[in-house]
Symmetry: D3
Subunit: 163 residues, 6 copies
């Protein structure tokens, strides 16, 4: 990205028309992406989730499934994403005391285009599901820090976010 | 929320089982919700979007449509959300110089349950679409501050976020 | 439509932003719409469909179901359509010798907005399904004359197309 | 159903054409339906699920969510079902020793048509999800006894299955 | 399956977290699966369906299409199923006098994971559609014996159910 | 198509049963299809769209996105279409004075079956979206001339429509 003049938005052609990027001539390669995000809440909301989680797993397990299922639907949600055979979606949670949950989503595929959006969609839908299940007790939750951590495979090479 | 002991997670019953909240005995009332969020990027990425927007509107108009369409699919994405007749979805963007776009989504319905999740889903999908369309030039974008701003209608009354 | 100056595109606001029309203050009324369309083909293709239809009903019955199912998905396909409870979808076919099939789709609902798009979607998907099932023998089929025939209910009153 | 001659299949009109039943003139009433089903497996498979369930709840909680989400999608899956606002879906499991799990799904709505299919869809998708999660250890599982237990509301009155 | 200790539920990792099985390192092979199921009804219900079927094919043809379309949506319905390119879905019915219909669904793909769930989904949705179309005349129908008959391709080898 | 006796409808087998064509033994090849269609309207409606388009692009940009997104959903809408990895969808519009808009949709894939239906679906959904956004000012619009222009790849060889 040293040559700023070379930067252009890939989904918009010279006439400003929006279209899917044509990936038909790209090789099929193994690709993976890792995204992350956080949801902040009142400490007592986190306590309720943790208690539930340790005993029954309900909130985080529901969020995990919602994230996995949404990652599979990414091309239905993001207008210019390509449909993909997704070979793996993995979502993990990290409790950050006193009042936050970190979400990490890793997606793998073997295809002509990357899975960054699938990983970000998984994080986003898992966070929204935590919100939905907890909103009766806490309307001040805040979802943030949704970003790409790692990306491998494809012609654009490896990306690892600087912390 | 003065009586902390009364707080409980509405989607989990006494045996820790996850289920949809039964809204069958709630009255049908007019309801609306406003949610917001931001996507931060490199200043030159914002310049590209703005230039595109003024001339052709592409990135933000695509994000707006993605947000509207995703809001209509909320009950398909959030496991315990009720299907709803949505009577209006409105998404607006605010450029925050030098390097951020604010997204505001307002949803209205007439139904037995609120539309907070629809508004949050609209914000989230609009943000992810901006990400998707700009990711070829900027992999360090960061989506955050997704939260509920206002909620009206229904037995839980009005909620307005303190700034 | 006598005052041309009053015409404006309802989905685009003054800043040119696309949004769903807000129907939250409209009354719930009984509404229905009838749309039609045609698919033209080689006479021998029509013969194959008719023979199949009389004996087994396959092509037209499949098209009828595809049209009904697509009408139910209209709000998922047309970006600014409202989700609706649809109370009836009825699709009929008329063989027009020597080489055309007419499709008529009638949709009813009780809601805050009309069902013209649902009727047009039903016609369109039924026609595409006839095309799909017959394309191995005829690649020159042509779908056309898709238009609204009748519309009742709602504040804009009754519409009946002049033949 | 005393007059056997009066029985006819409601989705097929006199010309044998398949169509959605027109419910536009039916009143909106409270309706509920309860369906059930079973999945039989090897006793050691049930042990694995139970162990998992007691500690972490994974198989049955995943099946419960799958059933709830599928019940919401019934009109997308069953060609002639009407889209419905569903006000509640509740799925419960009963371990039947030594080698079977019973699934009970109760659905409520307020609408012009019943929710039998939604309840049956919930049972069916929960059973298939148990199958999917356990199939690596047991390919002889058998899903059965899927039937309607109770139905209330609407002009056809109450139905309670004789045991 | 001689070593019972080796059995473990593939979708649940050591911490009890639910995740999609990672199939990214599996080879792409030809795979097929055959599943079956039955729907039992009153003899007079079967008579109505048969009469309709011989003349116009309506109930079973609708069920066949519903099964095919649902098989294509399996990864959307079963939370941990992988999206797949399905190369063939074939559904057949067998009338079992005096009061039962057998459903057989065969699915083929070329991919990294099998199509058992797609075949079972096809059977299940076809059965539910027969139920839906006949429920006005018979509320005692019972769907059962849904099971895998055959499975070929992939590292777990061939499976043929013992009758 | 010289031997008329060889023509048969590919989706219906000898017993008249509808099924997906089995493409499991076909090679994976690069395929593309181009379809077209037109929407006719009152000249003043076209003026409103053009004015909007030049300044803000709203109607045609919304239609373009609707067409792209619908093309990705083709296998969900056309009962016997195979799910496909679509590598590119491109939609263009041509203003035909005084009162018509031409839609051209080009789809590419690398797969075992062609993308004619995806291209036709893209055209059809783009046309319906133009209709939806303009229907408040013009109920006499007419969608037609939807047909295949070109098709390449696969054993049936190249097809180019004679003008």
């Amino acid at each position: 990205m040293t040559d700023k003049n070379k930067k252009e938005l890939t989904h918009i052609n010279k006439e400003g028309q929006v279209n899917m990027v044509d990936v038909s001539s790209k090789p099929i390669t193994a690709r993976e992406a890792v995204a992350t995000g956080q949801i902040q809440m009142e400490p007592e909301t986190l306590d309720l989730i943790k208690t539930g989680q340790i005993e029954k797993g309900a909130v985080l397990e529901t969020a995990r499934l919602a994230g996995i299922m949404a990652a599979k639907k990414t091309s239905d949600l993001i207008p210019l994403c390509h449909p993909l055979f997704i070979s793996s979606v993995k979502i993990e949670f990290e409790i950050i005391e006193p009042a936050s949950i970190k979400i990490i989503c890793k997606v793998k595929t073997s295809g002509q285009t990357g899975v960054e959006m699938e990983a970000l969609q998984g994080v986003s839908s898992a966070a929204l599901t935590i919100y939905d299940m907890s909103k009766a007790v806490d309307k001040t939750m805040n979802i943030g820090e949704i970003k790409l951590l790692e990306k491998r495979g494809g012609s654009s090479g490896e990306f690892i976010a600087s912390e």
